[in-house]
Symmetry: C2
Subunit: 250 residues, 2 copies
Amino acid sequence: MRIVIANQKGGVGKTTTAVNLSAALALMGDRVLLVDADSQANASIGVGLVNRTPNLYHALIGLADVREAIYPTEVKGMDCLPSSPDLIGVDAELKGMGGWEYRLRDLLRGLDYDWVIIDTPPSLGTLTILSLTAADRVIIPVQAEYYALEGLGQLLETLKYVINLLNPRLELMGVLVAMYDKRVRLAREVYEELRRYFGDKLFRSVIPRNVKLAEAPSFGKPGVVYDPSSRGAIAYMELAKEIKYAKVKS
Amino acid sequence: MRIVIANQKGGVGKTTTAVNLSAALALMGDRVLLVDADSQANASIGVGLVNRTPNLYHALIGLADVREAIYPTEVKGMDCLPSSPDLIGVDAELKGMGGWEYRLRDLLRGLDYDWVIIDTPPSLGTLTILSLTAADRVIIPVQAEYYALEGLGQLLETLKYVINLLNPRLELMGVLVAMYDKRVRLAREVYEELRRYFGDKLFRSVIPRNVKLAEAPSFGKPGVVYDPSSRGAIAYMELAKEIKYAKVKS
Ligand SMILES: Nc1ncnc2c1ncn2[C@@H]1O[C@H](COP(=O)(O)OP(=O)(O)OP(=O)(O)O)[C@@H](O)[C@H]1O
Ligand SMILES: Nc1ncnc2c1ncn2[C@@H]1O[C@H](COP(=O)(O)OP(=O)(O)OP(=O)(O)O)[C@@H](O)[C@H]1O
Ligand SMILES: [Mg+2]
Ligand SMILES: [Mg+2]
C-alpha cells in the first residue's frame, strides 16, 4: 500500500509523520520504503541520508535506475529513496515529458514493499501532484491551530481534482492531529472542530507535542528509535498499529 | 521601505511575523501596507479580510488596478493587499508575460507607504521570486529547531540568485528567531548556532512561543491588537522598534 503524507500548510508534522510511521511499521516487521519527494530533503536527513547521489531527482529524470537510488537506513526493514536540492529544478525538466504526472507511479511500480510512505513539500505543486498520483491513500497531518483549519478546504479541493483526473483509486485514509498540546484551550477547540468535520476519518491516535521528536533528526534517527519510551514515539507506534490493522478491513 | 518575509521551511512564523510587524509599525504611527503573496491567504485572514475581490491575483494579471485591491484593516494606518486561492494558478498566467518577475515591483511602485511588508508561501517558487524582486530587505523567520537550520543554506542560495539576476539592491535585514521556548535545550543549542553563524544579522528581539499569537487569527486581529500585554505582542513591538530605528542608520 502506498501512502502519501500531504498538507500544503507548512510545519504541521508531515516529515515527522512520514519518518516515524515508516520506522514504526518496520519495527513491527513489515518492509517499508520511505520516499522523500521534498527538495528540502528533511525526511532524508531524518534517517541519516544527507546529499546521497543518485537520489529521487536522478530516478525521476531517468539518469539512474530507481533501485540504485534506494538506500538502507539504520532501521531493519526500512529503506529510503532520498531527495536533494537537485529536485528544486525538476518541475521544468519533467513538464517536457508527456504524462509526467505518472512518472513517480511508474518508478515505484516494480518495487516489492509492504508499505511505501511518501513525504511531500508544503505546496500543491508538481512534486505533490506526482506523489498524489502515485499513491493509494493520503494521510493529512494537521496542527490543532486556526490557520491549519482554514487550509484544509484547498487541500480537499486538490484531492478531488487528482482523484477525478489522475488517480481514481486515491482515497483519504485519515486526518492526523499532530503536535497536540491538550493544555491549550485553542488546541482543544480546534480538535473538537476537526472531530465534527471529519468524524471517523480522524485517526483515533493523536501525536502530542514532544521535544524528543524534534531532537531525533539531529541524530539522523526517527523518534521511535531515538527514544522509544517517549510520548511522541509511543503515539507513532499506536498510529502504525491503527493503520496496519485497518488495512485488513479494506 | 519594502520588506519581504521569506523562508521555504513551513510553519516557522512567516505570516505571524508579517501581520504583527505590520500592525506594530502602524501602532507606532507609520503608514503600512501588508501584501499577502501566499495563496493560502493566511495573512489576509489574520487581519479579517476573507476572500475579498479584487485581490492581489486580479492586480497581478491586470484585471484590476492595484488601488482597488487594497483594503483598510481595523488597525489605523495599516492597509492590506489580500490574496485568495485564485493565486494558485497565477504561475501559468504570469509566465506568459515578458518580465513577469518585475510585475509585483511595478504594481507597488506608485504607492505611498512608509513600509510595505510582504508575506510569502513556504516555497521558492513564482510568488516568492516575485516578492524578493519587489523588496529592499528580507527578514527570515526561523524556528530554533534542527530542520530549520538545514534549510537556511538553500534560502541563502536563492537570495544570491535573486540579488545577482533580478534585484541587486535586495539585502538581508536579519534572521528572526520565532516560536522560541528557552526551557527546551534543543532550542537553546540551535539559537547559539544561529548566533555563531549570523552574528549581528540575528535580530536582538526574539519572539517567544505564546498562545495569544496563535489565538489572534481566529478573531481576525493581529496579536499586538488582540492582547497587547501578552509576551508575544510585546516581542513584536520590540522587533518593530529595532527595525524602525535601524532604518535611520542605513
Ligand atoms: N509532535 C511533535 N512534537 C514536537 N515537535 C515536533 C513534532 N512534530 C514535528 N515537530 C517539529 O516541528 C517542526 C515541524 O515539523 P515537520 O518538519 O515534520 O513539519 P512539515 O509539515 O514536514 O514541515 P514542512 O511544511 O516544512 O515540510 C520540526 O522542527 C519538527 O522536528
Ligand atoms: N510565537 C508564536 N507562538 C505560538 N504560536 C505561534 C507563534 N508564531 C506562530 N504561531 C502559530 O504557529 C503556526 C505557524 O505559524 P505561521 O502560520 O505564522 O507560519 P508560516 O511560516 O507563515 O507557515 P506557512 O509556511 O504555512 O506559511 C500558526 O498556527 C500560528 O498561529
Ligand atoms: Mg516536511
Ligand atoms: Mg504563512
